[in-house]
Symmetry: C2
Subunit: 427 residues, 2 copies
């Protein structure tokens, strides 16, 4: 039997055996339209009820045998004229409405009954796209000489500092959940020159907002021999552009199920943090409250301004103040109060943070001391600097946040299969 | 400048600019052979010392400009005749010996100075292969209609049961680190029919052996509409076969650096747990001590026996006793004391555990009760059964363990970039 639409298509014009879940039913009296949910899409079947024949039910697991014929009005351009339906399993209870694509449910119900709601056309499309994005990012990076790494998630120290870190007991030692693979990807640059990882990171942030998760998938890469952080930005631009082209080619059905129009990634404008702040204050008549960081509202307005002025949904904001960047960020030679760093804003929201890192041992230990840190606490991280490292930089991008903005969702929780927030540990 | 050997090759016969780390030096008096470590390999450069010219040092980050000429005796078949060397950065201290490929270090030193030892030819080769394996597994699975998933690692309950689970505080709630994505991948089968994930799992096992890690990368997949667990086994066989072919084609250098001969994956023999135990007892004159589980020595002998009898490095051991399998394992209809399950042994060690799962709601709740579990504790997992699920099964494979056996390493720690064991949290 066949579980993918792709393989089923090869039987067009002949007899076929399709396995799937009864996704939707339209009972026409003497016959029924059955939408069958397969691994990579939903197909249409027509079935004549006979006297003693099965009446299909929602969420049965079935194998449908019949003639596969062209039918331009059907999804995928064909229809299965069912002759026989074998029921392999029955649901124990009526499936909740949120499986049906026509029913628009609230977020809380959707998350509570995730085993049902993830069967919905929209959620399936969204997560098929998320998977395709991850695959396309990997393909692009591997094609550019990046080696995939697997860094540990249980760690002894904190890369980002602060209190936003989960603690655990580790055989009598104090341990933490990694907030990012930062130390490890930097450590691996001298060995592999270019590395990437797409893996979970953990942030114990107490705020409960529509754009934060306490566990999310971070797309991380780090590259040696950069001339400036702009090399990192341009690598990201290439990666996004490649991935969106890949989606257009391979995920047309999913994109259309979500009515998602992918952005064209042309040139992405650059603006310094300071200039962005000043221009937004001027253009929108705002007072600058925090000179060291961007408020969410400012991010929104910077994006709006660049969308209006250049047509780009993306903008790189560069040269963030040293105060708000971690200790491994490289300071600007011309103005040490600034860093060689950037955020990428997309449709009003930060989706990436990156920059050039310090590669010199003395420069790094001196900066640690300036920041009130003790270099001895970072002994294993500093091995990398000690034994020699090239100029390098990298970034971390939140996969769910990118999806949230791509799909214009109002809450990031829609775009995590099983989101973790301050109150949510299940399902 | 160019950081990959692959791109550098396009400059053959002309002038080129290669960026990399000074991996090795052979000082010949008036000139030197420099091995330059690039992103995807090491190239040979020849450099004539002039009066005022740079004398290269180990682990400098350099850009070498020169003529790229064919040289069949060199790695990759070419040599860079260096005319100019620009030093971008200097190591702060002499690199330890363990970077040099000729030096054979002990495991403890290797792990302690991982920032250095991962620059070694052997370690780089091993982890390039590990990355290629992960990529090939994903490609095979995606090509077979599997959707990649990202399941949470912070969870409310335990899939495998037992005490081997890390606990953490989660905003005032008790939480755990996921021992496997089991519940999530099963939950997603009715939605996507076929799903996979390659991600870290966490086991708080107290034993400190050469084959256990407390955090490792698990290659997990789960597939709907199987006729028996054999469909899962054959999918794994296809995946391994595809991956090894991919490595032969794409990682010849790394394989030869490790002197690794990949196995031919032909037909993999099957043997029941009971028969394997009895035949080993008979053939090797052993007494059966534990009738419900395999001792490591028995696994070794089963593999040896099948290698001798069939030539296969792999063997599927099937139908494990219910006692030793988790509550979601499907019992055999003919003998409910056995399960529709398997392990894959490779060169004497279990590298995969899998089987058919229970898809029926009543069957699952009844088995929970039989095992002394309370179905109400598994409410969100049971949603999947309640709303309908096809017959399904899947497996989890330890990526580091596969590598350990591929490379004939004596300890799995060699094959984790930054291993976690009961005493090790750093680097």
């Amino acid at each position: 039997m066949t579980v993918t639409v792709q393989e089923l298509r090869t039987f067009l014009g002949g007899s076929a055996k399709a396995a799937g879940m009864v996704h939707d039913l339209k009972d026409m009296g003497k016959f029924a339209f059955i939408r069958l949910r397969m691994a990579d899409g939903v197909i249409q079947c027509v079935y004549n009820y006979g006297e003693e024949r099965v009446r299909p039910r929602h969420e049965q697991a079935v194998v449908i045998t019949g003639e596969l014929v062209e039918e331009p009005r059907s999804p995928h351009g064909f229809e299965l004229r069912a002759e026989e339906i074998t029921v392999l399993s029955e649901p124990a209870s009526e499936a909740p409405d949120l499986i049906k694509s026509r029913v628009k449910t609230g977020l809380e119900a959707d998350l509570k009954y995730r085993a049902a709601s993830l069967r919905n056309d929209r959620r399936r499309a969204a997560f098929r796209i998320q998977a395709a994005l991850a695959g396309a990012f990997r393909a692009y990076l591997a094609g550019n000489g990046f080696t995939e790494i697997f860094s540990p998630k249980i760690v002894a120290g904190s890369a980002e500092g602060g209190a936003n870190i989960f603690k655990l007991e580790y055989f009598g030692q104090k341990a933490f959940l990694a907030q990012s693979p930062q130390f490890y990807k930097q450590t691996l640059v001298p060995a592999f020159l270019r590395v990437f990882e797409i893996a979970p990171v953990f942030r114990a942030e107490k705020h409960d907002t529509p754009r934060h998760l306490n566990e999310y998938i971070s797309v991380d890469f780090e590259m040696g021999f950069i001339e400036s952080f702009r090399d990192v930005c341009e690598m990201e631009r290439g990666m996004l552009s490649y991935a969106f082209d890949y989606l257009r080619e391979n995920c047309a059905d999913s994109l259309s199920a979500l009515k998602c129009e992918l952005p064209e990634v042309g040139e992405i404008p650059y603006v310094t943090f300071r200039e962005a702040k000043e221009r937004v204050a001027e253009r929108f008549g705002r007072r600058i409250k925090d000179p060291h960081d961007l408020e969410p509202e400012e991010e929104r307005l910077i994006s709006q301004m660049f969308k209006e002025d250049t047509g780009s949904d993306f903008v790189f904001v560069t040269h963030y103040p040293d105060k708000k960047r971690p200790f491994y960020a490289k300071n600007c030679a011309e103005d040490p109060k600034l860093t060689e760093s950037f955020d990428l804003l997309y449709k009003g929201m930060e989706i990436t943070t990156g920059g050039q890192r310090i590669h010199d041992y003395d420069e790094q230990t001196a900066k640690m001391e300036r920041k009130g840190l003790v270099p001895a606490d970072f002994e294993s991280f500093l091995q990398m600097h000690k034994y020699g490292a090239p100029p390098h930089g990298g970034l971390g991008m939140g996969l769910e946040r990118l999806c949230m903005k791509l799909f214009d969702d109002d809450n990031i929780r829609w775009d995590s299969m099983f989101p973790r927030d301050t109150g949510r540990l299940a399902p």
